[in-house]
């Protein structure tokens, strides 16, 4: 099968859907001629024109609010938020308005919009351009949250997001834009709320999101060399969360580590670990381990930044300790 990059997959998903549905527009800073700073949207303005690929001023709350109103009245906007860190700027429009409109209106008004943004540290971009803030939106009822971990998922989840009648937030890890994976030419969708088991195993379950899936897979490979069989699960969407697949896996393996690049404290590893601990309680042989990013603002210095994010090696080490009963 052909291989394309994560960035190209996002681009394809949007282009395909825009060809099918005239109501889809893209709004954001430098999305048109510049194709975004990461060049993920390159070529779209040439095909769809500036009426549908709309460059905005540097007004994140404003254009998010405009997207909410447009979504309520017949368009299906994709909002491009240049950095996930800017989520803090748009929380009101996203969480007080978009997320609640359907409910507050008793089901009369819909807000079919996609917010695509990014996450991920280690690009030496410092504290305001490196955050992974998905936990914040996952906490808000009315929002769906997707975290693709490969080009394949990036395309399938984006297409599903665009067709969803609710506000969906997609976090793309900016370190993965150039990573290639097999992506079919034929159309496919990835259902929300269905986790993917990337690697089956019987000794330990590694639940990982976004780029942490790669780290978990690497750890699983190293573990395999030691005859430890790890099951790697990628939830793909954290809202809705496919609890069943995760719980069933842990019931089988009796051991679990949850890995995510958001801050650990009050982050998504807490939710997933708490659910495992509750629902697989009688099957667990050892305490569920959580491994999120350090609870510090992301430092600029390469000497410090790399220490803040979980790595395959650390996952491997913890897995071994866990299985040895040392955690």
């Amino acid at each position: 099968m052909r291989e394309i990059t994560f960035g190209a997959a996002v681009n394809e998903a949007i282009a395909e859907e825009m060809r099918l549905d005239e109501r889809i527009i893209v709004l954001g800073e430098d999305v048109a001629e510049a194709g975004t700073p990461f060049k993920v949207l390159s070529g779209l303005v040439e095909e769809f024109g500036t009426q549908r690929i709309i460059d905005t001023p540097i007004s994140e709350p404003g254009f998010t609010g405009i997207a909410v109103g447009a979504a309520m009245t017949g368009l299906r906007p994709i909002v491009d938020l240049m950095f996930g860190d800017f989520l803090f700027l748009i929380m009101d429009q996203l969480c007080n308005q978009a997320a609640k409109t359907h409910y507050m209106s008793g089901g009369k008004l819909n807000v079919p919009m996609v917010l695509r943004t990014n996450m991920g540290a280690t690009r030496r971009s410092a504290a305001q351009h490196s955050q992974s803030l998905h936990a914040l939106v996952a906490h808000i009822p009315g929002l769906k949250v997707a975290m693709p971990s490969s080009a394949y998922e990036a395309k399938g989840l984006m297409k599903t997001a665009i067709r969803d009648n609710n506000p969906v937030v997609i976090f793309e890890d900016k370190l993965m834009y150039n990573d290639k994976a097999e992506v079919p030419e034929e159309e496919y969708l990835i259902n929300f709320g269905e986790a993917e088991i990337l690697h089956t195993g019987s000794d330990i379950t590694l639940v990982a999101t976004s780029s942490m899936v790669q780290q978990a897979e690497m750890a699983a490979k190293t573990l395999a060399k030691q005859n430890i069989s790890a099951e790697v699960i990628d939830p793909r969407t954290i809202s809705p969360l496919d609890e069943t697949t995760i719980i069933n896996s842990v019931k089988k393996t009796s051991h679990a580590i949850v890995i995510d690049e958001g801050h650990q404290n009050y982050g998504i590893t807490a939710e997933i670990a708490a659910r495992i601990s509750e629902k697989a309680f009688y099957y667990l042989d050892a305490p569920v381990q959580r491994f999120g990013a350090m609870d510090v603002p992301i430092p600029f210095s390469p000497a410090l930044e790399d220490l803040t994010v979980p790595t395959a090696q650390q996952i491997h080490e913890r897995a071994v300790l866990l299985l040895e009963g040392k955690l």
């Binding site: 998010t64 009245t73 008793g106 009648n165």
Partner: protein, 326 residues
């Protein structure tokens, strides 16, 4: 520009709509005073000419966004009393099945995209509706209602800028009732209020918000121009709320005087003055107008009784409508 509405029918319609708003609000206030209303609510009384003058220049397909003080906009855009009172009381038959309440009442069928409990929070929504209108070629206009207090919210400036850049058919209707909660507008807003919009290249107008005809004439003209792609526009409507910030704000002397309140009620009441005009111009008679008022009051009372007796939403509704189905 006055030709369109310069006839008996439309004048009486504006009269009726203003009276409807006032009748609705007096009932809502009574519901609060008699402890039958869950929570608080914000009365629109005194500002009727703004909502009616503007909404009578719109079609049902044109969109509005409203505020925490939103009953007036909702009635003016064509809403039904029963469904409104049901909503205010949290009943299943309410416009939002009781889930929204006074601060989130929406009436999609008549183009009301909803009240909003975030001051200025609907600036994006109204502007987005105008983007839809332009993009989909619907020829619709949207009106964003907001108070003088909302001039403090940066979101408004961000969205006015985009509306101006993209020539969107949206009208920003700033109801300056002189106060945001318990603070005077001049303590909250530096500079000239009109310049807040002209600074973004938006053509701006000031109008007496107590004069329903003036408001309506201006809005008709702007709506027509907006449909032709000449928008956006900004209107500053000078008006006054007779009651407190919300129904529980009874002792107001510490922030505004009784004399000021009396002056507006006596000399600048939109309904009284319009009544006088209708009679003077021989468009109607005091008797006819009185009987319209009585009819509306009766309708309001009946709607209140209906709503008081109406059913609560079933407990199973609590987790319905979190997500729309696909």
């Amino acid at each position: 520009m006055t030709d369109k509405k310069d006839n008996r029918e439309s004048y009486l319609q504006m009269f009726k709509q203003m009276v409807r708003i006032r009748a609705f609000e007096e009932q809502a206030n009574q519901l609060y005073l008699s402890a039958k209303m869950p929570g608080l609510t914000h009365m629109y009384v005194g500002q009727e000419a703004v909502a009616v003058g503007i909404c009578e220049a719109l079609t049902p397909n044109d969109k509005i966004t409203s505020t925490h003080r939103g009953h007036g906009h909702c009635v003016a855009k064509g809403a039904d009393f029963k469904q409104m009172f049901c909503e205010l009381l949290g009943k299943e038959e309410g416009y939002c099945r009781g889930k929204g309440g006074s601060m989130h009442i929406a009436d999609q069928a008549n183009g009301n995209l909803g009240a909003n409990a975030i001051v200025g929070g609907s600036a994006g929504i109204a502007t987005g509706a105008a983007l839809s209108a332009k993009q989909l070629g619907s020829n619709e206009v949207s009106v964003c209602f907001f108070g003088d207090g909302a001039l403090g919210q940066g979101l408004l400036y961000e969205t006015m800028n985009m509306a101006a850049l993209w020539k969107l058919p949206v009208i920003y209707a700033c109801e300056n009732n002189l106060y945001g909660e318990y603070t005077k507008v001049e303590e909250m807003a530096a500079g000239d209020l009109m310049a807040r919009a002209t600074g973004f290249g938006i053509e701006s107008f000031e109008v007496d918000g107590q004069d329903v005809l003036a408001v309506n004439n201006l809005t008709q003209e702007l709506v027509e121009r907006a449909r032709k792609g000449h928008g956006p526009f900004f209107i500053l409507l000078n008006t006054y709320r007779y009651y407190g910030h919300h129904v529980g704000d009874i002792n107001r002397e510490y922030y505004r005087s009784k004399e000021e309140e009396m002056l507006w009620r006596k000399e600048r009441d939109p309904i009284t003055n319009f009544t006088q005009l209708l009679v003077e111009k021989k468009i109607s008679t005091p008797e006819e107008l009185k009987s319209i008022e009585r009819e509306i009051e009766t309708e309001a009372e009946e709607a209140v009784h209906y709503a008081l007796d109406a059913a609560w939403p079933d407990a199973s509704e609590v987790d319905m409508h979190v997500f729309a189905s696909n």
